[in-house]
């Protein structure tokens, strides 16, 4: 009987792969000396296995993806992530098109972090038109709902952006973009229960504040606005250089938690693009070296302030100032695409300086990946 179940399961996987137009498997290996991105550096390795399937039905595509990630030194943070959705592309005329997608997602963490478990729904509507053959106008609207195991994090958000870019005969592209976002916490003050985990475990010296809602908190929503600019220059056919800048303002609202934290690779619900205001500047050099290997090198500097988040000393006493971080990131990435698989290696060095000493940190991050694609169906 057990054998029959194994055969049947194997058949289902093969069958699903055959029904699909695309079936891909990928494996990523990540290493870091600072998985929790704070002053108490902690090493870990993360292995991630990913599968992806999609299938076209006339003008609609359906797709599904699963991702299991295992952390060797912090297995309690391991998770399985799955999403499924559909998308549709509609051309209005030969220069204009709309794109729509609806995606349902779920994240399931091991018991230590089960508060991070969530189910979510995303909707994306995109519009693109060529104003001329060298100028493009684009707009995107995104809606997201996320419901967490720990309902304090539950939210809905709206995001709208409009961009315009134009290309000059000097091989220069200039792009300008403005974005507006609105995030509404469904119940930020539903619970005043403070779940403090003593800091002898994964965080080093200071208690965990992430689960503590702020006791004084006005309003449930955060509203942001950002302006972005980019200039890109092609140097021959094999070198590309780009410089970009972004300024973001918090128009209203503030973070409803007493602390904001980021983890390496693992999503942390206290931190996202709504958490901060400030600026970011980036430069990137892309070179196509022999054997069609892509090499990318970049530098990013950001200065972020986290509205509503008060810096604390290492004992957890308030310092009376809003948390501010200045971050320098150096990155290098090498990628090679083969006909049915691709390989990549990347390295990041991050130096984060903060007026909250707990978040004064440096880290080295390595990733290596193998992605294997199998294609089925017609060749059209």
């Amino acid at each position: 009987m057990r054998r029959l179940v194994v055969y049947f399961s194997a058949f289902l996987v093969v069958n699903a792969a055959l029904i699909a137009n695309t079936f891909s498997l990928s494996f990523y290996q990540n290493m870091t000396d600072n998985v929790f991105q704070n002053r108490y550096s902690e090493r870990d390795q993360l292995s991630s296995l990913n599968f992806y399937l999609d299938k076209d039905f006339s003008k609609v595509s359906i797709f599904t993806e699963g991702n299991y990630a295992y952390l060797y030194d912090n297995p309690g943070l391991s998770y399985y992530f799955h999403d499924a959705g559909l998308d549709y592309l509609h051309a209005l005329n030969e220069k204009t098109a709309f794109y729509f997608s609806v995606v349902g997602q779920g994240a399931f963490y091991r018991s230590d972090y089960s508060d991070f478990n969530y189910l979510s729904l995303h909707f994306l509507g995109a519009f693109k038109t060529y104003l001329s053959q060298t100028s493009i106008l684009k707009s995107n609207y995104a809606f997201e709902y996320k419901g967490y195991s720990y309902s304090l994090f539950d939210f809905i958000s709206h995001f709208l952006d409009v961009s315009f870019d134009t290309y000059f005969q000097t091989k220069t592209t200039i792009k300008a973009e403005v974005s507006w976002g609105y995030k509404y916490y469904l119940h930020p003050d539903a619970s005043q229960e403070a779940v403090i985990e003593e800091g002898q475990g994964y965080r080093g010296g200071r208690d965990s504040y992430i689960y503590i809602p702020r006791t004084v908190y006005e309003g449930k929503a955060i509203q942001i606005f950002s302006a972005n600019g980019l200039i890109a220059q092609g140097l021959g056919g094999k070198i590309g250089l780009s410089l970009s800048g972004m300024k973001q303002w918090t128009l209203s609202g503030e973070n409803p938690f007493t602390s904001v934290e980021e983890f390496y690779v693992v999503e942390n619900p206290s931190y996202d693009s709504f958490s901060w205001e400030g600026y970011q500047v980036s430069s990137q050099l892309t070179i196509l070296v022999p054997w069609n290997i892509e090499l990318k090198m970049g530098y990013t500097r950001s200065e972020k302030e986290f509205p509503g988040i008060e810096s604390m000393d290492l004992e957890g006493n308030p310092l009376g100032v809003t948390r501010q971080d200045t971050r320098d990131v150096f990155e290098a990435r090498v990628e090679k695409d083969f006909s049915s698989f691709s390989l990549f290696l990347s390295y990041f060095y991050v130096n984060n300086r903060s007026n909250d000493p707990f978040f004064d940190w440096q880290g080295n991050f390595f990733s290596a990946g193998l992605e294997w694609n199998v294609f089925f169906g017609g060749k059209k």
Partner: protein, 144 residues
């Protein structure tokens, strides 16, 4: 004996399904007519190409050496993920076919702004995906 029956049954089903799904449609990618063309983009349009399929992003390319014009089939959803402009250089590897006196290329690989994009595998099977707009960002590790 019973085990062998299951294996045979399952293999038969898999082979039958693969045969049905592998049927070809319209014009298709022919590896024997594959060619590399390097040129300058003259026009970008969205155009229906295949029955019951989303319209394709078509780039009209002028070959650098011969000044010959090619209609390059990229993919449907790349219209959103790739911002081509007139005047930009593009290198295409793909299968050539002629239709109504026009030279067309079904692109398998493009090189653009110092980056390479694989659109099909070496046999010509499409590599673009549903949800590409939403999926691509989270792949290949974290960005800070």
């Amino acid at each position: 004996m019973r085990k062998s029956r299951y294996v045979i049954l399952l293999l038969s089903l898999v082979i039958l399904q693969a045969a049905v799904l592998g049927q070809e449609t319209d014009h298709y990618y022919n590896v024997d007519t594959e060619k590399k063309v390097r040129g300058t983009i003259q026009m970008i349009v969205m155009e229906p190409r295949y029955k019951d399929s989303s319209p394709f992003l078509i780039v009209i390319l002028e070959e650098r050496k011969t000044k010959e014009m090619f209609n390059v089939e990229i993919s449907p959803v790349r219209f959103f993920s790739q911002d081509f402009h007139k005047g930009e250089e593009l290198e295409v590897v793909g299968s050539i076919y002629s239709l109504d006196g026009q030279k067309n290329i079904i692109a398998r690989q493009i090189r653009y702004r110092g980056e390479i994009f694989m659109l099909r595998d070496k046999h010509g099977f499409p590599a673009w995906r549903g949800g590409e707009m939403t999926q691509k960002k989270k792949r290949k590790g974290k960005r800070f």
